[in-house]
Every structure is written in C-alpha cells, then in structure tokens.
C-alpha cells in the first residue's frame, strides 16, 4: 500500500520462460534484458508501475468487451464433445 524506495526497486527474482522472455510477478512477462542493451535501454521501472500497467491492461480489455457487447460468451462452454463426422455440411444442432 505504501511506497518504500527499497521495496519498489526490488522486483521478484526472474524465471526464464523462453530464450527471449522472462517472468517476474505472476502473469507478468518481460523481455530478456540482454535484448535491450545496444539501441534501446530499459527505463527505471519501479514495481508499482509494472503492476499498474498489467492491471490497467486487463481493465481496458474488459472495458472493450463491454463497449462492443453486453456479455461475452466463453468458447469453453460450447466445445464439442466429439469430432463431428460432417462438420461443414448440413448438420443439425
């Protein structure tokens, strides 16, 4: 809740995800910092800012859904149980 310099400038220990990406906070991916050494260097990024951006992104995407439609239907609710033998033809539901 409160701001302390030390806390803000100590991110969680990174874990490698791929050869170009790492992860720090849960669900927060970051570029491998070795890719930002020559032409563009990383900015100073306190923890609150990384988390603010990630949380705002989720809020924004939710807002966009609401902007275009009253509700979102989850594809997982409609997944077919078994492959249909004649999917693109005249099948009854």
């Amino acid at each position: 809740m409160s701001y302390r310099y030390d806390e803000q400038h100590t991110p969680p220990e990174p874990t490698r995800v791929t050869d170009v990406a790492i992860t720090t906070f849960e669900d927060l991916y970051e570029v491998d910092p070795r890719l930002m050494q020559e032409w563009v260097t990383q900015q100073e990024f306190p923890n609150w800012d990384s988390l603010r951006i990630m949380n705002s992104r989720h809020d924004h995407l939710e807002w966009m859904h609401e902007h275009f439609a009253h509700k979102v239907i989850h594809g997982s609710e409609l997944l077919p149980a078994d492959p249909d033998p004649n999917p693109s033809g005249e099948v009854s539901l």
Binding site: T18, L35, A69, P83
Partner: protein
C-alpha cells in the same frame, strides 16, 4: 511548403474574412504536426511534406468558404481527419492548406426509430458509440484504429471494418453525407439524394465515387450513419494449429459456413506467430508446435450466438484445431480494436530491440490465392531484410472481407526502423511496395482492400489495375476539380491536366 511568405500572407488575409484567428494555424509546430500519418514516413525528408498552413473549420460553411478561397487563389487543399490512415491521403505533397476537421465532431441527431444518426465527420467511432450505447445502439465501423480514426477519414478512404462480414464496411454504413466539392460548392450525396436511404435506384450511384478518393475529390463534413442494436453477446474463439495448411483450410470453411452472426475470421501465418512470441503474453508460453492461428468472431443475441458458435467450434475441431482457451480468445479479440503494432517489436538481425515503424501492405485476394500470395510476399520482404536491418518481417494476416469467404484482406506487416532510414533504404522500400502490388495483380486481386493505393510505389500500378477505368478517373477528376487544387499529386491524377 510551396507558397512564398507573401502568398501565405495573402491566403491568411483572405481566410480571415471567413474564419476566426484561432481557426487559422501558421506556426512551425502546427505545420510539422500535420505532415504525416502513422505509416512509415521518410523522416529525413519531413520538410518536403509540410503544408503552408492549417485551418480548423467548425461547419460545412467554414469548409466551403476555405475551399472557395483556395480554388480562387490556386492553393492546394489537403483534407485531414484522424490522420490515422496508412496510405498518405492526409499527407500534403504540394504544401497548401490542411483542412483539419476535428472540431466538427458534434452528434447532430440520433434517430433510434429509423436507426440512423447524423454526425460531424470529425467524431471518432469510439466516442460516438459511447453516446449511442445510452440508446442501446452501435455504429459498427471497426478498424484497428477504432478509438482514434474519424468518420470523415473513413469516408475519404472507404474504410474496411474488422466486423464488416457481419455489418458491412464504411461504404455500407455511411448512408449519405454533405460534401464540399473542389470548387467550394456543397453537395449532399447518398443513395439518391435522401439522407436516410439505404438503397435507391435513382440516378448514378454517386456515393461510392465520393468515398475512397483519398481527399482528391473534396471534403465530407456531415454524415448520416446506419445503426444497429448493440450486440447482446460476443464470442471470439481462437485456435492453434501445427501447420499453415490446416489453418488455411479451417478459416475457409468457417467463412463459407454462412452463419448469420459471423462477423469475421482471421488467419495468422507462421511468421505472425513467431512475431507474437517475441512479446505477446498470450503466445510466449505456447508450445513450439503452434505454427498458425485462426480466430472467428460472432455478434448477436445470445440465443443466436450460442448455436452458431457450436457450429463453428465443430468445424474447427474437424480441422485439428486446438482451442486456445477463454482467456486468450477473449483478451486477444478485445485488443484487436486498437491493435496497432508497437515499435519495440522491432529486432535487428542479432535480435536487439529497436523502435520500428509499422507498415501494413494490404491487398484484396481471393481465398484460393492466399497461400501463393503469402509465400511470394514473404520472399519480397526477406529480400529487404537481407539488404538492411532497417526492415523486419512481422508476419501476415488474412481477414474476411465478406460474409461468404470470397475475398480476403491480406496484409503483411513490415517493421521499418525510421531512425536509420535514408534515401537508399527508402528507395528499397518503395520498390518493394511495387513488387508486392504486382503480386496482388498477378493473382487477380486488388492492390488494396483497406488502406488505399495512393502511396509512392504501389500507386504506379494503379493504372494497370484499373485499365480503362483509370482514364475515367482522370476525366472525373478534371471535371470536378478543374484547377487541380484538391490534394494534388495523389494517385497520378496530375495526368488529368497534362
């Protein structure tokens, strides 16, 4: 800029008779910031694209008065709306007056019974829809620049919409508009002369002529738009494939299925997937055998969308698709309404991050030719990349344009490192654009489904594409703009006057 200081003074003096001082902008920053659009720009030659001044009209009468003065004084006029286009329609090539319509953003009428609204062309679709939502309505013109492009620019470029397969594209959604001709006369143009008519057989079908002209035939100032109920439900499944061919077969079947709520489908090729793995949180953790993606989207009432969705999910399953899950499907779709590439996607040959401008070369291609065009386009961009780190291949998409899968907006995204751009790199780029356009024509496509084809490079092939029709374009241009003041230098229309 092209005018002498003395001529600028004369123009400003004349404009002051019809506009307030705060509507006439002459400072350097006013001009530098109305010289470009998001597409790659020869930043090292910025000064060649400057207007001499800009004006901020507040009414059709203001626009007409400015154009009359320009026509009388033989000063070029360049209409500027959102300035978000990708084919330089709003970029001045001969200086002159930029007519920036952003102040004309009023909602004049919402007619929920006849399902229309009438707006100033300086309004964005997002801001309009915030107001329409209060009435349960939506104006479903949905480009990737949805939050910032403006209705007038959509008219001037004849825009393409992500969900056009369901609701139509800009040409279908704009019913009529007030239009200032290059002589300063004001015309109302639509189907017939009606304001709220969706289909008329009276007279020539002039509406299409005054859409997509890239500002060469005048300026739309006030438009009547077609409205729909805001959808009750949205469904946007995304699927992964281990090869392009299965994804291609799947997306074709989805588009051809004839599902009424179907609003669009998108095919992501292998290069695009590789590109997304660079920095997209949805795709970074995906297994390496994911090599192509397909998504589909449906809008409508829930009791329509659910069975339609089941049908499309069954079709996808029959092609070996793997559903990517609700979180990725829903999150990625929501991001497509404002999905411009971000510059740090750019990489040098050794993988270092650099800020690159995004350019999207597009064409309209029939389904059967998508694989060949995809292959040949990647070869062209690979040639660029071999010659210079200034260029980077960001992969390709194919989007449904219609509701039956006939033709597809086909685009290749190319990163261009503007900080390093020079004349040699720019010349390589312009030639590549000609080559890309030539491939589109070879496969009986159109040079652009979406952005327009009036930029340096591809514009050279427009006469080939249109054939005798290009001569008709020249005849029309000369008839409507006898003094060639409206956005001169675009589309090789100067040939009308030689």
């Amino acid at each position: 800029m092209t005018l002498t200081a003395e001529r600028v003074d004369t123009v400003v003096h004349a404009l002051r008779r019809v506009l307030r001082d705060d509507q006439i902008l002459t400072s350097k920053t006013d001009r530098y910031n109305r010289a470009r659009v998001p597409a790659p720009f020869p930043v090292h030659r910025w000064a060649e694209r400057l207007p001499d001044l800009a004006v901020l009209p507040e009414s059709t009468e203001d626009v007409a008065a400015v154009v009359r003065i320009a026509n009388e004084l033989l000063v070029p006029v360049v209409p500027r709306d959102g300035g978000t286009g990708l084919t330089d329609g709003a970029v001045p090539l001969r200086g002159g007056i930029v007519v920036d319509v952003k102040r004309m953003n009023a909602i004049h009428e919402i007619d929920p019974v006849n399902r229309t609204c009438t707006v100033g062309t300086g309004i964005s679709m997002l801001k309009l829809n915030e107001q329409l939502a209060k009435h349960g309505l939506i104006y479903p013109d949905d480009p990737a620049s949805y939050p910032c492009s403006l209705v007038g620019g959509r008219i001037g470029t004849s825009g393409w919409s992500l969900i056009g397969a369901r609701y139509g594209h800009t040409r279908d959604l704009v019913l009529s508009f007030d239009h200032v001709l290059p002589t300063g006369e004001v015309m109302h143009v639509g189907d017939g002369v009606g304001q709220k008519i969706t289909k008329s057989s009276s007279g020539y079908q002039l509406k299409h002529l005054f859409m997509g002209h890239q500002g060469t035939l005048g300026i739309a100032t006030r438009a009547t738009l077609k409205l729909f109920p805001k959808p009750e439900a949205e469904l946007s499944p995304f699927w992964a494939f281990d090869n392009y061919d299965d994804a291609y077969a799947c997306v074709g079947d989805l588009a051809r299925a004839g599902v009424a709520t179907f609003a669009g489908a998108v095919l992501f090729d292998e290069h695009k997937v590789a590109y997304l793995r660079r920095d997209d949180e949805a795709y970074i953790p995906q297994p390496s055998d994911v090599r192509a993606l397909v998504c589909a989207v449906m809008y409508g009432y829930e009791d329509e969308v659910r069975p339609a969705g089941k049908r499309l999910l069954r079709i996808a399953q029959s092609h070996g698709a793997r559903y990517l899950g609700d979180e990725i499907s829903e999150g990625d779709w929501a991001a497509r309404h404002d999905r411009y590439a971000t510059p740090l996607h750019g990489r040098t040959g050794n993988g270092q991050v650099v800020p690159m401008s995004w350019h999207c070369e597009d064409a309209a291609i029939n389904y059967t030719h998508l694989p060949a065009v995809t292959r040949e386009w990647h070869d062209i961009v690979a040639g660029l990349r071999r010659q210079s780190d200034v260029f980077d291949d960001w992969g390709m998409f194919a989007y449904t344009s219609s509701d039956n899968g006939t033709d597809w907006l086909t685009e290749i995204d190319v990163g261009i490192w503007e900080q390093q751009l020079d004349d040699r790199a720019w010349a390589l780029w312009v030639q590549a654009k000609r080559d890309l356009a030539a491939v589109s024509l070879k496969y009986h496509g159109s040079i652009s489904a979406c952005h327009g084809s009036c930029r340096e490079g591809e514009v050279d092939l427009v006469p080939d594409e249109l054939g005798r029709g290009f001569q008709v374009m020249l005849d029309l241009k000369r008839a409507l703009d006898p003094r060639n003041i409206m956005n001169p230098g675009k589309y090789h229309l100067d040939r009308a006057y030689s």
